[in-house]
Amino acid sequence: MGDPGDAFVTIDHGTATTAAAVVVRAGGRQRLAGSIGLPAHVGDEATLDILSRRLGEAGEADGLVDVGAIAGLPRLETRTSAPPVLVVLAASVRGRDRLTGLARRAGWLVRGHDLASEDARSAVIALTRRDVSAILVGADDPPGADERGLVGDLAAVVAAAVARRPELIAIHAGSMGDLAPSVASDGDDIATTILAPAPLPDDGTDDPLVTLLDELRAEPDDGRRAAARALGSLARVLDRRILLVDVGVSAGLIARADPTGPGGPAQVRSAITAAGALVPIDLDDGTLEAIAAWIPEAPDRHRLRDRLTGLRENPNGGATGEGALLRMAAARAAVTRLADGVTWTWRPNGPDLVLVAGGAWSVAPGSAVALALCDALRHDGARSLGHDAARLLGPLGMIADEEEREAVVADLVDDIVVPLGSVVMPALAAGRKQHGEMTVRVGGAESSLPLIAGGLELFDLPPGQAAEAVISFSDPVVLGTRGKRFAIDVAGGLGGLLVDLRGVPLTLPENPDQRRLRVDAWQRAMWAGIDG
C-alpha cells in the first residue's frame, strides 16, 4: 500500500464471491466508505464499477473520494482458492492417521494411504492421480516397530510416483528424509523434494511440520492466512481475546488471537481446513446428520445430500427462502467442525469476542447469524459477537508493516467488527429446574426479565449500546466461574443481548418432530421475515 493516509481499495477474491471495499480518510481517521460482495465471475473491475456507481448514487463518498477514480486507487488484495490435494503415504495405519490429521490442519485436501493395508500398485495409483499436487511420506525418527520393515518400500513407491509425475512435490518427513537422496537417484527428474521434521510426539498445535505444510500450500496473498495476521492486530487494538471463524465454500478458518500484554504481539493460532468448508467434499453421513439437525423442515436424507451437493457446486444460487435456511444449517455444522478440530478454541479461557467472516453468513440477517453462533459454539461464558461483513480482515493482513497494519485496523475497527450482539451462556447444573432473573441497566434505565432453564431469552439492545447485565440464579451456575450472581458488561448489536439457558452442551430432542419444532421456534424468534 502507498501512503496510509490515502484512500484505498480492498479486494478479497473468494472461491464463490469477490468482496470489495473503499476506505477513505475522514475526520483525521480512515473509515469504510462502502463495500460490496458479488459472485466471483463478475470480475474485479465490474465489481468496483458497481460499487463506485452505488457510492455515487448514495452520496456516501461525497467530498471524500472521486468515485470515478476508485478503480485507480491502491489496492490490498487477497485470494482464497480451493485447497490443493496432498496424498499422505505412511508405513502403518497409525502413521497415516497422524500425518493425515496434521496435513488437514495445514489446509490441504488430504487423502491418506498406508502400505500396511494396500499394495504398492494401489499406492502408486493414488499418488499419481492428476489432481494430486504433493505427496507427504513420513515415518517416525527413528522408525517405529510397525514402520521399520516398510520404510524402504515407502521410498520406492514415492520414487515410482515421481518418475511418472515429475512435477509432484514430494515431502519426506521424519526418518524418510534419510532416504530422500536414494529417491532422487531413482528418479532424476524430481522437481521438488523437501525434507521435513517428524511430527511432534504430543500432536501439538505448533507442530513445525504443520507450519511447513501450510507454507507449501498457501500463496503469499492467501486470504485466510492474511486474516489471521490482521486478527492479531485487532486483538491488540481491542485488548481482547478474539476467536475468528471464517466459513467459505472451499475451506474454513478458525483463528484465535490473545493479547500478551502492553507492547507485546498478540499470540495468534490458526487452522485452515477443507473440512471447515460450508459443505465439505467428504460429505459423510455424520456431517449430513449434523446439518440436518438444524433444518426446521423434514428433509429426506437423499434429497438433502443432493441439495448440499448443489450448494457446493453453485454456492451463489438458491440463497433465498429455504436455501437461506439450508446455508445457515450448513454454516452451524461447519463452525462446530472448525471449533472441534482444534484444542485451543476455549483454552485457556473463552474468547471475549467471536468474529465471523466468509460468504456463508451473507444471506441471513445479523440476528440469525448471532443465533447460529450460539447454536454452534457451546461453552459457558459471556462474549460479544461480530461480523466482518465487508471482509476487510484478509486484505488488511496484507499490510506487511505491523505498526502500519495496527494503525489502519485501529481506525477501521468499527467497520471490521459489525456488532451482532452479546451472548451470556451459563452452564446449568444438570437435572435441576433452575430459574433466575436478569436486570439490564442501560444509562439510567433498568429493566428486568425472568430466566428459565432451557430457554433462550432475547433482550433488545441495539448496535452501539453498552449495558450492564446483572444475572442471578436460584442455584449456582458456571459462567466463566461458579456462582449465583453475575454482573457483566455487554454490548448491543443486530441480534441484541441473548441469554442462552439451553444447556452446555446443547442437547437437541431425540424425537425428530420435537427437534424440528424447537429449532423452528428458535429461528423464528431471531429471523425476522423468515416466512417472507
Binding site: 472521486d66 445430500r305 427462502g321
Partner: protein
C-alpha cells in the same frame, strides 16, 4: 471531487455465463500402472481406434530376472532375456511394466486379463504418461456437462424423453442397443442398470442424485471386480445433483444431433460430436435460464439488473428482471439465473 459517474451498467455481466460448447476439447483418459498405451504422441487416431490396453487383474509381482541398473519405474521390460518374440511389430505380450524398486528388488505389474479402451472420437494424441494417462486433442465439438460416471463411450444419439421428464426403466428395450439416450431431467439407478443390460452405450441426463451416482459406481466396481468384459457405458450429467429439466440450448443442440454418432468423454465431462451446424446452434446473448426457486427450469430473456432487492426469508440479493417464455415479467435473484456463452 465529483460524484458524477455514469459508466454503462454491467448488467448482463452479473449473470453467470455457462460455457455450452467448446471446439478445442482435450480429452484425458486415465491409466494405471500395468496399462499400456497403444498410441504415441502426435499420432492421429480415428473414432474406435484402440488407445489403451488395460490390465483387469493387475498385481505387483517379482520378475523372473532383474532389469538393467538404468531401468526406471514405468519402463517396459521383458523379464525373459534371450527370448525371440515373433510379433510382427506388435508389443511383446510378455512385456511388463516396472512398478517400483524396493530394497528387495524390482517389482513388475503382472496380469492375464485385459481389454482395450477405444477412442470415443477422432483426434491427435497430445501426451502419453506411462501408468498415469494420455491426452487426445479431439476433432469436432464438445457440449460441456458437469460430471460423467463410467465411460468413455460412443453411440447413436436418441432423444428418448421430454427434457423435463424422467425416463422410466420400462421405456428402455433392446431396440436402443448401441445408442446414447437423452433421458430428460433425471434417471433412477434402476433405469441405468436396465439401460446397461439392454446394451445402451450411454445416458444423458440433466441431474443425477448422489444416491443414484453412488449405486451406479458401486455396480460398475462390482462388475469390474468380476473381470467380465464391460461394454462401454457412460452417464453424462449436464447440470449436477439438483433436479431440473435439460437447458433449452443443450436440447436444441442434441435435437440437431439425433440419429448421429456422438461420444461421451469423462474428462472434461462432455458430449463430443462432429456436426458443425449443431455446434452453431447458440441461444441469443440475453437468453437466461432460472435454476432455483418457484420458476426453476423456466427460460426467458434478461431485461435489466435492478440492484439489491429483498427476497424470501428476508434475504437481500442482487436482483434482475426476466421476461419468461410465456410472457411473464418476474424479478429473480441474479445468482439464480444463468446464461450461455
Amino acid at each position: 471531487m465529483s460524484a458524477v459517474y455514469e459508466p454503462a451498467p454491467p448488467s448482463l455481466d452479473l449473470v453467470a455465463a455457462r460455457a455450452l460448447v467448446t471446439d478445442d476439447a482435450v480429452a484425458w483418459f486415465d491409466m494405471s500402472p500395468g496399462d499400456r498405451a497403444l498410441v504415441s504422441v502426435g499420432q492421429a487416431v480415428a473414432a474406435g481406434a484402440a488407445l489403451i490396453e488395460r490390465l483387469r487383474d493387475a498385481h505387483p509381482t517379482v520378475p523372473q530376472s532383474q532389469p538393467h541398473v538404468d531401468a526406471r519405474p514405468g519402463d517396459r521390460y521383458v523379464p525373459l532375456p534371450g527370448r525371440v518374440p515373433s510379433l510382427r511389430g506388435r508389443p511383446d505380450p510378455l512385456e511388463v511394466e516396472l512398478l517400483h524398486h524396493p530394497p528387495s528388488g524390482w517389482r513388475v505389474i503382472s496380469g492375464e486379463v485385459s481389454d482395450t479402451l477405444d477412442a470415443p472420437a477422432a483426434g491427435i494424441v497430445r501426451e502419453v504418461r506411462s501408468g498415469v494417462g494420455l491426452a487426445v486433442a479431439l476433432e469436432g465439438h464438445a457440449l460441456l456437462g458437469r460430471a460423467v460416471a463410467g465411460g468413455p463411450s460412443r453411440g447413436r444419439l436418441v432423444m428418448a424423453a421430454d427434457p423435463a421428464a424422467e425416463l422410466r426403466p420400462g421405456a428402455l428395450d433392446v431396440g436402443l442397443a448401441g445408442t446414447i439416450v437423452v433421458a430428460g431431467s433425471r434417471v433412477s439407478a434402476e433405469t441405468l442398470s436396465r439401460g446397461r443390460a439392454m446394451g445402451l452405450r450411454g445416458v444423458i441426463v440433466a441431474s443425477l442424485g448422489q444416491k443414484e451416482l453412488r449405486d451406479f459406481r458401486a455396480s460398475e466396481a462390482r462388475q469390474r471386480a468380476a473381470l467380465h468384459r464391460l461394454e462401454p457405458f457412460a452417464v453424462l450429467v449436464l447440470d449436477g445433483a439438483v433436479r431440473g429439466p435439460i437447458a433449452g440450448p443443450a436440447v436444441a443442440i442434441m435435437a440437431a444431433l439425433a440419429g448421429r454418432e456422438v461420444a461421451i468423454i469423462p474428462d472434461p465431462p462432455a458430449l463430443v460430436f462432429s456436426d458443425g451446424e449443431a455446434s452453431a446452434t447458440r441461444p441469443p446473448a440475453d437468453q437466461v435460464r432460472i435454476r432455483y426457486g418457484v420458476d426453476a427450469g423456466r427460460e426467458g430473456r434478461f431485461v435489466e439488473a435492478l440492484g439489491r432487492r429483498r427476497f424470501a426469508a428476508n434475504v437481500l440479493a442482487e436482483a434482475g428482471r426476466v421476461v419468461t417464455a410465456d410472457g411473464r415479467e418476474i424479478v429473480v435473484p441474479m445468482a439464480d439465473i444463468e446464461r450461455f456463452a
